[in-house]
């Protein structure tokens, strides 16, 4: 951290001073088609969403209203900031802080972030197995890892070291975005407020009616379990999301996506014009994604039929090594899917994830498929 800050400071300092001889730009070229320019483009316009997720904007004033929670006795709510979507003063102690923050993408992953926090206390890093063994909780419908550290706290910016401090936090890292709930303060206070913190984290929820879109473009989905999902205006369907499923930000080729089990599993609905290549071609593609040969005619005829959009469609259930559209192969995965092929537009619903999870979510999947209806 200090080294990075030093480097950044050095770079800044260097930017403000002459840096050796000036070199002349000698290369020129006439481009027939210049790159598109948007004069005065904002950072969001320019950088878009490099992680597939838009991070919170600098103006978080509207986001604070997204969340509701049960404030522990003696704790105080503070105004939210660009980094602190929920900002609390635990037990009214000015030396303590507790806040919820969000980062687009995985933020480097769980292990990196656990060890980043440990580094702030001068603690040795944990290996992957030790991180995996940390206790789990649920935060905003997502699987989260509970982190507890004590020691000399130096904070994020190389602040003055504070001895006798402790950290109690939850981290949920997923491809779509990562949530961090961090409580730091004097160790006795953190120990005393541990149960309050856990109760607070469990009570965090999205305000009824609030759109879950953190930062306006994506974000962790935080719908309450079992509720009928708010109807996305662009979707041609309505549905009832099963308990434990949370809606994910819009993605290419998808009408709606859901995550489950801390982002390990995923289910999505996609709609293609016309017959979408046909049922057989799509089933062949799905078989190919798990590395198995196409279904034989007998296998195809023997497929279970399930209700979907007013008719019965074949249900394809596969296990194997799943290779997704990003080209990555994940071992021991499962896939359950249905497809309704129609000349006027075909609908596909697919659930993927670790084999055990997919099998466990099978009934949820069938209920979800059965609940899908055309929007009136």
């Amino acid at each position: 951290m200090r080294r990075a800050l030093a480097l950044a400071a050095l770079a800044l300092a260097a930017c403000g001073k002459p840096a050796g001889p000036v070199e002349e730009i000698v290369l020129t070229r006439t481009a027939s088609q210049p790159m598109p320019v948007k004069i005065g483009a904002s950072a969001v316009d320019r950088f878009g969403d490099p992680t597939g997720m838009r991070a919170p904007s600098s103006d978080a004033s509207g986001m604070a209203d997204l969340f509701a929670y049960d404030l522990p006795t003696g704790w105080k709510s503070l105004p939210s900031t660009s980094d602190r979507l929920v900002n609390l003063l635990p037990a009214g102690d000015p030396g303590a802080s507790c806040y919820l923050s969000f980062l687009g993408g995985t933020g480097g992953g769980l292990e990196v972030n656990v060890n980043r926090w440990r580094k702030q206390f001068g603690s040795d890093p944990l290996d992957a197995g030790q991180v995996e063994a940390l206790p789990r909780r649920t935060m905003l419908g997502h699987d989260a890892t509970l982190v507890e550290i004590a020691g000399v706290f130096t904070g994020m910016g190389g602040d003055e070291p504070r001895e006798g401090y402790a950290l109690l936090g939850l981290i949920s890292c997923q491809t779509e975005g990562s949530l961090f709930l961090k409580f730091t303060g004097p160790a006795p206070l953190v120990a005393a407020e541990r149960e309050n913190f856990l109760a607070f984290s469990a009570s965090l929820r999205v305000e009824e009616g609030a759109h879950p879109d953190l930062g306006g473009g994506g974000g962790a989905d935080v719908h309450a379990h079992g509720e009928e999902m708010p109807e996305a205006p662009e979707s041609a369907f309505t549905w009832t999301a099963p308990e434990g499923w949370s809606q994910l930000p819009a993605r290419p080729f998808r009408d709606v996506s859901f995550g489950m089990a801390g982002g390990q599993g995923e289910c999505y609905v996609s709609v293609l014009g016309g017959d979408g290549g046909g049922l057989e071609a799509n089933f062949v593609r799905w078989c190919d994604q798990v590395g198995r040969p196409p279904l034989t005619e007998d296998e195809f005829a023997a497929l279970e039929r399930v209700p979907f959009l007013g008719t019965k469609v074949p249900l394809l259930q596969l296990t194997g090594d799943f290779t997704g559209m990003d080209g990555r192969t994940q071992l021991g995965h499962g896939l359950i899917g249905v497809a309704l092929v129609r000349p006027g537009g075909s609908v596909f619903v697919k659930l993927t994830g670790p084999e055990k999870l997919v099998l466990a979510e099978r009934e949820h999947f069938l209920a979800f498929v059965a609940s899908i209806e055309e929007r009136p």
Binding site: A14, P34, M35, K38, F47, A55, L103, N282, D288, D326
Partner: protein, 393 residues
């Protein structure tokens, strides 16, 4: 002294050295291929084949001459042994010709290494382009943001960017530009993100954003570099700072000299002497599989107002204007049926493109010169033997 040179010449032209170098070449190929599995093609190529020495710890601890040393010595060995010191006679004419062919083959590799450009051109149907871009090399381009048609771009090449890390900066100016540029903070792989207190910035924070450093991907073309630019107006002294990530939707813009300028970090672009417009892209899968059996592109080559339809498909590239366009890929990968696809062409500008063909012809001629006389002598001896046997009987 003469003895020393003589001994050196004998060593450099010896069969022993040739055998050692060929064995070394085999090891380079073997270990380079294994290294590529975990570290990617680009790094493996640089480490094993475009290096003077290779020091490796695994899978076998070894220090050996790199590709440049090996091929250089092999060329010298071939030149001295196969062309200079070889006994010149009618009997060795074929061998000399073969060595000339091999020398041409080696020279073609050297010319390709030093003077070729390669990259790719990606087009959706209906799109047209007259430039291709490098897989690995970067450049900073500055141009008049208000221009809508052809525009002059001021370019800072890769070599002047990649060493600008760890606080190093470099200033640039041009009589045609009313400002001075200072570039620094080059990162091989990074993303521009809103800076929060949850991650360490790898750059100054500008407008609330900073670079989040990413691990360097061994497949070099997957990395997205980043750079920080500071612009100083020469007339007013006004300055502005900009993050230049390679992954951006729009370039940074700033005002200077009464104009709006755009600046971007991007993959190096190479102009082509013609434009390519993709008319139709077709992909055929293997029966019952989602694996492409073949894919081909119908393109229109536009040059000097003339348009010519050409089909580019696997193993049938378009060769024109010193460039070779191969049908190399398509995307988006795994896209469902019905999704618009784009076609990707590998583009190579290689002055020695045909040299391997010429060298094969030369080597073939040399082999004929070596073996035809032997065949002729064999035929004559067989005929003589048949006649002598017939005479006895």
């Amino acid at each position: 002294m003469k003895r020393v040179f003589g001994g050196l010449a004998r060593l450099l032209s010896s069969y022993g050295l040739a055998c050692f170098l060929l064995l070394n070449l085999f090891l380079l190929t073997l270990f380079g291929t294994l290294y590529q599995v975990d570290n990617g093609l680009y790094v493996a190529q640089k480490r094993y084949f475009e290096s003077w020495w290779v020091v490796q710890r695994s899978p076998v601890p070894l220090v050996m001459p790199g590709g440049l040393t090996c091929m250089g010595l092999l060329s010298l060995n071939l030149f001295l042994g196969g062309l200079v010191r070889i006994r010149k006679s009618a009997r060795t004419a074929g061998v000399i010709v073969i060595h000339l062919g091999v020398a041409l083959l080696l020279a073609s590799g050297l010319v390709k290494l030093q003077f070729s450009d390669d990259g790719n051109l990606r087009l959706y149907e209906g799109e047209q382009s007259d430039e291709f871009e490098s897989y690995y090399l970067w450049e900073v381009a500055v141009w008049d943001a208000a221009a809508t048609g052809p525009v002059e771009e001021h370019l800072i090449p890769h070599e002047q960017l990649v060493d600008l890390s760890e606080g190093r900066t470099r200033r640039f100016t041009s009589p045609a530009l009313p400002f001075e540029l200072e570039l620094g903070n080059f990162l091989v792989n990074c993303r521009a993100m809103p800076k929060g207190d949850r991650w360490e910035a790898a750059s100054p924070v500008i407008g609330g954003y900073a670079f989040l450093a990413q691990p360097v991907d061994p497949e070099r073309e997957r990395n997205a570099a980043g750079l920080v630019a500071r612009v100083s107006d020469r007339a007013t002294g006004a300055t502005s700072q900009h993050l230049l990530p390679a992954l951006e939707m729009y370039p940074a813009t700033f005002e200077s000299g009464g104009k709006t300028w755009a600046i971007a970090l991007r993959h190096k672009r190479y102009p082509m002497p013609f434009a390519i417009r993709l008319e139709d892209f077709r992909k055929e899968d293997h029966p019952g599989m989602n694996l492409a059996k073949s894919f081909e592109s119908d393109v229109v080559k536009v040059e000097g107002g003339a348009a010519q339809k050409v089909r580019i498909q696997m193993n049938e590239p378009l060769r024109h204007g010193g460039l070779v366009l191969f049908q190399s890929s398509w995307g988006p990968e795994g896209a469902p049926p019905g999704t618009p696809l784009f076609s990707v062409f590998s583009v190579v500008r290689n002055p020695s493109d045909f040299w391997p063909l010429y060298s094969c012809i030369v080597i073939g001629l040399g082999l004929l010169l070596v073996f035809l006389p032997k065949l002729w002598r064999f035929v004559l001896s067989q005929r003589a033997r048949a006649q002598s046997v017939g005479g006895v009987s």
